[in-house]
């Protein structure tokens, strides 16, 4: 597939997957790859844990305000990558400022108001964050917004929050906000989800569950799947003349059994979900540039 077509398929890509599958690595790599191609890209981190900073080589933790990221090895001029972290707390403060409540917003923040608000209308923290992303898309701050989605199973509850609130809230700004986010999520040209997994039994099971839940409960469009840590060397031939107890043979047997498990799981994933797949190798590095070029190489292989 043409790499440019790939990255302009939608304006927002939310990367989701269980912790430990390399979600942050993949989303940071995608963002950098798109910037290398010449797109204006915004990377959004939702989690408070560190991670993207190391991949991007930033000295300071990402905050609510965007910072510029050095695009390693740009292939075309004009590319541009910025990154920010959006938390519910910061999004609420921003919302209050923009709704003429800036004056009391500091007082509200100090009084732990988010606790009250979140308890009065659960899911509102998710809605505030999605609302901010929607506003950024609306303002066209970038050609592509890559969101490093929330950890683990939280992705489904985050994306179902707008529907839940839309159903439970009779009217007012929340309902309005929820409605607009539902529209955004339903429009594949504006927003897609890329799910990340590992070529192993449990992660594949979970990816399939999540994919169905997202399609049925949110109605969001799923982009290509990413399988991370794919071993690229096939099964090894072990000569019968070698000592079966030797380290070299035991290592080969270990490799072969992992490879068999991997091909079995990749085949099962393909059977369960008919979606294009990007296979990424194990990265012994956290350099954004290396990850980006692997991502670009794999996209070219897509049908």
């Amino acid at each position: 597939m043409d790499q440019f077509t790939f990255f302009t398929a939608s304006r927002i890509v939310i990367v989701a997957g269980k912790g430990g599958v390399g979600k942050t690595t993949v989303s940071a790599g995608l963002a950098m790859a798109a910037a290398q191609l010449g797109l204006r890209v915004l990377f959004v981190e939702l989690d408070e844990k560190p991670g993207p900073e190391r991949i991007f080589g930033c000295a300071k933790p990402l905050g609510y305000d965007s910072i510029e990221i050095d695009v390693v090895d740009p292939q075309t001029g004009g590319g541009h990558l910025s990154a920010r972290r959006i938390t519910a707390q910061a999004a609420l403060s921003d919302y209050l400022d923009n709704h003429g409540l800036g004056r009391i917003s500091r007082r509200l923040m100090k009084s732990g108001i988010l606790d009250i608000v979140a308890t009065a209308a659960p899911g509102i923290d998710d809605l505030l964050v999605l609302g901010k992303i929607k506003a950024l898309e609306h303002e066209r701050v970038a050609d592509l917004i890559v969101v490093d989605g929330p950890a683990a199973g939280h992705a489904v509850s985050m994306l179902t929050a707008p529907r839940a609130l839309h159903q439970s809230v009779g009217g007012g700004p929340i309902r309005q906000q929820a409605e607009e986010i539902l529209e955004l999520l339903a429009d594949g040209a504006r927003c897609q989800i890329m799910l990340v997994t590992l070529p192993e039994t449990t992660p594949v099971n979970e990816l399939v569950e999540t994919a169905f839940a997202l399609e049925e409960e949110v109605g969001v469009q799923l982009g290509p799947l990413v399988i991370n840590n794919v071993e690229d060397h096939g099964e090894l031939f072990i000569s019968g003349s070698l000592n079966p107890q030797s380290a070299i043979v035991r290592a080969a047997q270990f490799h072969n059994s992992r490879i068999r498990l991997q091909s079995q799981e990749i085949a099962r994933l393909a059977k369960s979900l008919a979606l294009p797949t990007i296979a990424l190798p194990f990265f012994p590095t956290t350099s954004g540039g290396v990850i980006a070029s692997a991502v670009l190489g794999q996209i070219r292989l897509l049908a």
Binding site: K18, G19, G20, K23, K49, P50, G51, Y95, L101, I104, S111, G112, I113, D115, I116, V117, T119, A120, A121, P122, G123, I124, A151, A152, H154, S157, A164, S168, V169, G170, G171, G172, P173, I174, R175, E200, T201, T202, P203, N205, E206, E209, H233, L236, F237, I238, S239, S241, L242, N243, A247, I248, V249, R250, A251, Q253, F254, H255, S257, L261
Partner: protein
């Protein structure tokens, strides 16, 4: 303290870590290892994925009540397992603290209650803490092993009872509760901007629904508060052990490290660090390889594979060094990456073997 000693003296073991590190599997394996020493263990998973059931080879789903596990064998102790049902637990709580049937009815029919008792943020953690407390008090068990939601949520879990107390103590909440009838008009003038701001964010409808819920809830808050305080005490008891679970890749190591720091900030300590799925290392090239084999293409492929696996093993050792130092003097247990995934009772038993074997090696 060795891990055996932790299994022996703890009455609660809380497994923390990010998703995908084998936390549920580890919780189940800890349950098996403890039961083998004669303890009566219940393992609770509050992770939405039904993995514990899978790992234990159960074909039926685990309900909100513990079921005894017969395979793998756990004599002389017992192993029970359950999956938290947030809604059902919340309903139990309402029934426990309500004054009468009418109050139960009023609460259960409230839109706001139906909304929060589903899987929306925070509720799951409150209910997990409640369930933990119930099981701890249950005479059938002498050890509760709890599998928490992934890192960020696991912190909420630790904070859930405190959050509840803070919420109940909140000046604003008290003011919201004060008027017995009437809408927003009755609030004191000083409260108006804040109430208006909340209404602006959540809408008057949601605020009204919430107020109706809190009024229906009136009188139950004392029971709730007492329970929350007891849970806080329980989470800080010396017999409650925090086990941090991770896998050896950079992302999950970061999360585990973050969790260890958070525990420390809370004045709690990591009892044991368990690192799952460690790449086994192999001896370097054997001496007994003959010349003819050594020169073939197949052989150089095998050699490349051996080198690659060993390099990966030493890279992993390097990546986890900081975390291992961070949890010291807590024992660290290494569970190797198996040739196959841990998906049945037998392989779960193997993990349980490693838990005990490894820690004794490290601490003798």
């Amino acid at each position: 303290m060795t891990f055996e000693r932790i299994l022996e003296k703890s009455s609660i073991i809380i497994c923390c870590g990010s998703g995908g590190v084998g936390k549920t599997t580890t919780a189940a394996a800890i349950g098996i290892a403890a039961a083998r020493t004669g303890r009566r263990v219940v393992v609770v998973t509050i992770d939405p994925a039904k993995r514990l059931a899978d790992a234990l080879g159960l074909s039926t789903e685990l309900g909100n009540e513990p079921h005894q596990i017969v395979s793998p064998p756990t004599a002389p102790g017992q192993l029970w397992a359950m999956m938290l049902d947030t809604q059902a637990t919340f309903n139990e709580v309402v029934r426990t603290y309500s004054a009468d049937k009418e109050q139960v009815e009023r609460i259960m029919s409230n839109r706001f209650f139906r909304n929060i008792s589903k899987n929306l943020s925070g509720t799951q953690e409150y209910m997990a803490a409640e369930k933990l407390f119930q099981l701890h008090a249950d005479a059938r068990f002498d050890l509760v092993v709890i599998d928490t939601p992934p890192t960020r949520d696991a912190l909420n879990f630790l904070d859930a009872p405190n959050r509840l107390i803070r919420f109940l103590d909140h000046r604003l909440y008290r003011l919201l509760l004060t008027p017995a009838r009437g809408g927003l008009k009755v609030f004191a003038a000083a409260m108006q901007p804040i109430v208006r701001a909340i209404a602006r964010i959540v809408g008057t409808q949601a605020l009204d629904d919430a107020l109706a819920f809190f009024r229906a809830f009136d009188g139950m808050d004392t029971g709730f508060r007492q329970r929350a305080e007891q849970v806080v005490k329980l989470l800080r008891s010396p017999n409650t052990s925090y086990v941090v679970v991770t896998s050896p890749n950079l992302e999950t190591i970061d999360e585990a490290d973050y969790f260890v720091s958070k525990l420390h900030e809370e004045g709690l300590s990591t009892a044991t660090l368990i690192i799952n799925r460690i790449q086994p290392s192999f001896a370097s090239i054997d001496a007994d390889i003959n010349e003819r084999d050594g020169s073939t293409h197949e052989f150089s492929e095998l050699r490349r594979n051996l080198d690659q696996l060993n390099r990966r093993a030493s890279d992993q050792a390097l990546s986890i060094a900081g975390l291992v130092a961070h949890v010291a003097p807590a024992p660290v247990i290494y569970i190797p990456l198996f040739a196959h995934d841990v998906t049945n009772g037998e392989s779960l038993g193997m993990v349980a073997d490693h838990l005990v074997r490894d820690s004794s090696n490290l601490n003798n």
